[in-house]
C-alpha cells in the first residue's frame, strides 16, 4: 500500500504518453476538421466526449493535445536540467566565491516570476510553444541548481570522494563517477515534479494565448475555447481540465513515489 501513489502516478503518466503516441497514428476524427452541423454536442457513441463550438471531436483534440503536453514537459525539463545540474555541481564542488556567485544569481532568478518571463519572451519573440518551453525551462533552472548543489555537497563529504582525491582523481572524474550517479535519483525526482509544473505552466500560457497560436490543439487552448461557452456547455471545460489534472497528478505522484522509494539509499550514502 505504501507504493500506491507511485503505481497510480506511473499509470497516469503511462496513459498520457500512450495517448500522445496513439494520436501520432490514429485519432477517431481529424482534430482540426470543422463540421458546422454538429456544434457543442454532448457525449455520444460517435463522439465520446462530444464536440466543441466548431464541431470538432473533443476526444481527438484531447489525444493530440497530449503530444504538446509531453513535448513541452520534456523540452522544459531538458533545458532546466542541462543548465541547472552543471551549475549546481559547479557550486557544490568549487565552494567559496564561485558557490556564492552561482547561488546568489540562482536566488535572484528564483524570485523572478515565471509568468512575467513568459510574457516578456512572448512579447519579444512572439507567442509560440518554443517561447513557452524556453520560459518554463529557464524559470525552473534555479530549482535544479539548488537541489543538485545540495546533493553534490552531500556526496563531496563522503569518504569515497576523499579516497578518490587521495589517489589524485580530479574533479571531472569525481563528478562523472561519484557525484552524478549518486545524485541521479534526486534529479529524477526533481525532473518528474518539474514536468508536472511545466504541464500546468504550458496550460496556463496557452490559456492566456501566450503559447501556440496555430491550429494545433493543446489542453490549455481547449480550456480557453471552453471559457466562451462555459454557461451553455460546461462539459467543454471539464475534459481538458481533467486531462491536465490527471497529467499533473500523475507526474507529481510519480515524483513523490520515487522520492520515497529512493530515500533510504540516499540516507545510507550520507
Amino acid at each position: 500500500m505504501r507504493r500506491l501513489g507511485l503505481y497510480v502516478g506511473a499509470a497516469l503518466v503511462t496513459l498520457v504518453v500512450a495517448m500522445a503516441l496513439v494520436s501520432l497514428f490514429w485519432t477517431p476524427y481529424d482534430p482540426t476538421l470543422v463540421v458546422a452541423g454538429q456544434r457543442l454536442q454532448g457525449p455520444s457513441a460517435a463522439h465520446w466526449l462530444g464536440t466543441d463550438a466548431m464541431g470538432i471531436d473533443n476526444f481527438s483534440r484531447i489525444l493530440v493535445g497530449a503530444q504538446t503536453t509531453i513535448v513541452v514537459g520534456v523540452v522544459s525539463v531538458g533545458i532546466a536540467a542541462v543548465i541547472g545540474v552543471p551549475l549546481g555541481m559547479l557550486a557544490g564542488q568549487a565552494r567559496g566565491w564561485v558557490d556564492e556567485v552561482v547561488m546568489r544569481i540562482t536566488d535572484i532568478a528564483y524570485a523572478f516570476p515565471a509568468l512575467l518571463l513568459a510574457i516578456l519572451l512572448a512579447a519579444r519573440f512572439g507567442a509560440s510553444p518554443v517561447t513557452a518551453m524556453t520560459a518554463i525551462g529557464l524559470a525552473t533552472i534555479p530549482s535544479f541548481a539548488r537541489i543538485t548543489r545540495a546533493g553534490t555537497l552531500q556526496v563531496m563529504r563522503t569518504d569515497f570522494v576523499l579516497a578518490a582525491r587521495a589517489s589524485g582523481i580530479r574533479w571531472p572524474g569525481i563528478s562523472l563517477r561519484h557525484v552524478l550517479p549518486n545524485i541521479a535519483p534526486l534529479i529524477g525526482v526533481q525532473a518528474s515534479v518539474t514536468f508536472a509544473l511545466a504541464i500546468l505552466a504550458e496550460a496556463a500560457l496557452s490559456f492566456l494565448g501566450l503559447s501556440t497560436a496555430a491550429i494545433v490543439p493543446t489542453w490549455g487552448k481547449m480550456l480557453r475555447d471552453a471559457q466562451t461557452v462555459m454557461f451553455n456547455a460546461p462539459l467543454q471545460a471539464v475534459w481538458p481540465g481533467l486531462a491536465i489534472a490527471a497529467a499533473v497528478l500523475g507526474f507529481n505522484l510519480l515524483g513523490d513515489g520515487l522520492r520515497d522509494l529512493l530515500d533510504p539509499r540516499l540516507r545510507e550514502v550520507s
Binding site: T158, D159, F160, L162, A163, R165, I169, N182
Partner: protein, 270 residues
Amino acid sequence: MSAPTLPPDAAASTPLYRVRGLTRTFGRAGRVKALDGVDLDVSAGQRLGIVGESGSGKSTLIRLMAALDRPTTGSISFEGQEITRLPEPRLGFLRASVQLVFQDPRSSLDPRMTVGSIVTEPLRSRHLRGALGPVQAGVRLREVLDAVDLPPDAAGRYPHEFSGGQRQRIAIARALAPGPRVLIADEPVSALDVSVRAQVLNLLAGLVAANDLTLIFVSHDLAVVRHLCDTVVVLRAGRIDEQGPAEQVFGEPRSEYTRALVSAIPRIRV
C-alpha cells in the same frame, strides 16, 4: 634525557615524512585549533601509531599528511619535497605513494560502483595512467582481491552485498592497488564488529610486512596500536603529548596524560 626523542633509526636516515610546526585552525578568526605546532618524523618502513581522544587532531593530521587539506601554518615534506604549498597537478609523487583506509567502509565505498571499479579507481589517476593498461589493471585487480582474501567474482558485485569486515577488505584492496609505499589507516576497525576486528588487523599487519609498507595507523584503541606499531605519537588537544618507541611509551610513559591513557588499557588476566 631531553623531552620527546625520536626513534634512533629515524634520526639516522632521511625521514620519509618531515612535519614541522604544523598548525591547522578552523572557524572564524581561527578560533578552533585542531593542530597546534606539531613536529613529527616518519621514516621508511616505520609503523607509526597516532593515538589520542576524539578531537585531539588525529584525523586533521593525517588529512594534512595526505594533502587533502592545507595547514594554516607549518610545513610537511614528503621525501624531502614540501607538499603544503604545491598545487594538485604537482602532487603526483605523493598521490602515487600514499593511500588511505578510512574508518567506515559504508562511507568510503561508493554504493553505486562495483567492487571492481572501486578497487581499480586509483589506477585511473593521471599520475598512474599509462603505467597500467586495462589488461594489467584487471590482473592487478585479481592480485589485490586475492591479497585481501576476497574471491575474484567479488569484482562484479556491489559493496552492499558484503559484510562490514569484507567491505573493509575491499577498501584495503583499493589502497593496495596502485602499489603505494605508505598506508594511512584512520581507525580502520572501529566501525567493525568486534568479532572481525582481529582478522582485519592481522590482514593489515601481514600486508604491511609483505609489501614493505610504511604504516601510519590512527586509533583511540591503545591495545591495537601496541599490537601493530613500533612507534607511537600521543596527541592531546592538537599538540604532541609524548612520542617514542611503542615499548617505551607503553612501558614507562613520561607524561601524566599518557600514563592515564595507558593505565586505561583493559587487560585480560590469564
